[in-house]
Symmetry: D2
Subunit: 138 residues, 4 copies
């Protein structure tokens, strides 16, 4: 990354604002920070994010992982378009209503592929879901 | 399954109605049918299901896969509680606004683990996303 | 596939013979058949294929899945080079010494990506391992 | 872990010796070290570890990941039996003949599930394959 962190942060704030009408906004994602190559996104898990047995729906945490890793891939290739090709998710512990945080970071990039990893934790830092993703530069 | 298909279908319709206030309803899932051990769910993909580049968000199709396979796991073990432990998703082709269908079926079950597979297609039957899931009986 | 099944079968027999000095031969893979777009490979699981608790090592069945799906990808693109980018494996039931069969088939192909699925069963047809793979055309 | 590192290291050396006649030894795995909860295993990749296009076979690196993570799971539950249930592998860059190192570490453990992650690098530290695994305590 040639840009300074501030410039990336401003760019991400703009992207988040522009994404309010997409699934990003509908799900309730909030951009928190981009520090030292680690992005953090937050979501207030409410009743409509839960499954019928009262835990945060696996689709919600999968969406958070995909979203956060997708931004990492996008930052890695600001001039190109990237799409997720693979997402692998481990649900290690149930998450409940309340504030969730997802952090993502780059694992590897080659000319055509980007690999990232991410984790969703609750407000006390307990790991709920972790995953890895592959992105293709198109 | 000892029960007739009709009984399962009625049970699923009741479950879908009860899940309207959960992520199932918020995402916009509709129960379509349960035939020959294959469940079908539909979703009308609208602008709020898309990512910023106009394709259905990977989190949406991942949610559909997890949801449909979760129901398969639940049907396999009607008297027990099942939770997703692993979800693996292949995004093979972009999906756009319009009606999506996800079908899921059982691959294997043992005393404590259930494995399922599922596919998301568009209204013309084009495969967009496929995945597999592991569920733990708790 | 423009070629007839016989021509593909002969080609696969040649490839298998040429691969005897590679990991294919070291592991003990045998080409069985290519019928109706489904490839079948066999392996006689012996003590050196087991883990310390007497079950076929997960690396062995993962290798069988990767190998069989890789051939499916290669057949889909006979004039190009394909490499595995992602492999997702579900170990659903233990496998033991004896003859194993792995079948693989194409799930989807686009210009640059191929997706396949495969299963490893024992001689009685019990499913032991199933998986999916992504391959990149380079 | 209540035990000191030395005790674990001696235990792992004994296990490695006992595993010489299993797939561990047949593949050519060598126990290198257990330091700060990270295990390192090495393998000299030779012609019989390659695929027909001269790269280390994906089954070999998958086997290394599964093996190293399996030991991490075993160390986490020394009194219980653990089996791999899921393995997810990202092949990010080709690996060739020469010395490979795989490192693995614990991501999370609950009463019945253990999650780990691992990486395979070449002798210059270049990442070739990374993966995550789920293990069930039985």
């Amino acid at each position: 990354m040639d840009d300074g962190n501030d410039r990336i942060t401003r760019k991400l704030q703009q992207l988040a604002a522009a994404a309010e009408s997409t699934f990003w906004g509908y799900l309730g994602c909030e951009f928190v920070s981009m520090e030292g190559n680690i992005i953090t996104i937050a979501l207030d898990a409410k009743p409509h994010h839960l499954n019928p047995i009262g835990m945060v729906h696996g689709g919600v945490t999968s969406s958070l992982l995909d979203t956060a890793m997708g931004i990492i891939a996008m930052i890695a290739r600001p001039e190109e378009k990237v799409v997720t090709t693979n997402l692998s998710v481990h649900f290690v512990s149930p998450l409940y209503e309340g504030r969730l945080f997802v952090t993502a970071e780059l694992v590897h990039q080659s000319r055509k592929m980007i690999t990232a990893q991410a984790r969703v934790v609750d407000s006390e830092g307990n790991l709920g879901t972790m995953g890895t993703g592959s992105f293709r530069v198109i």
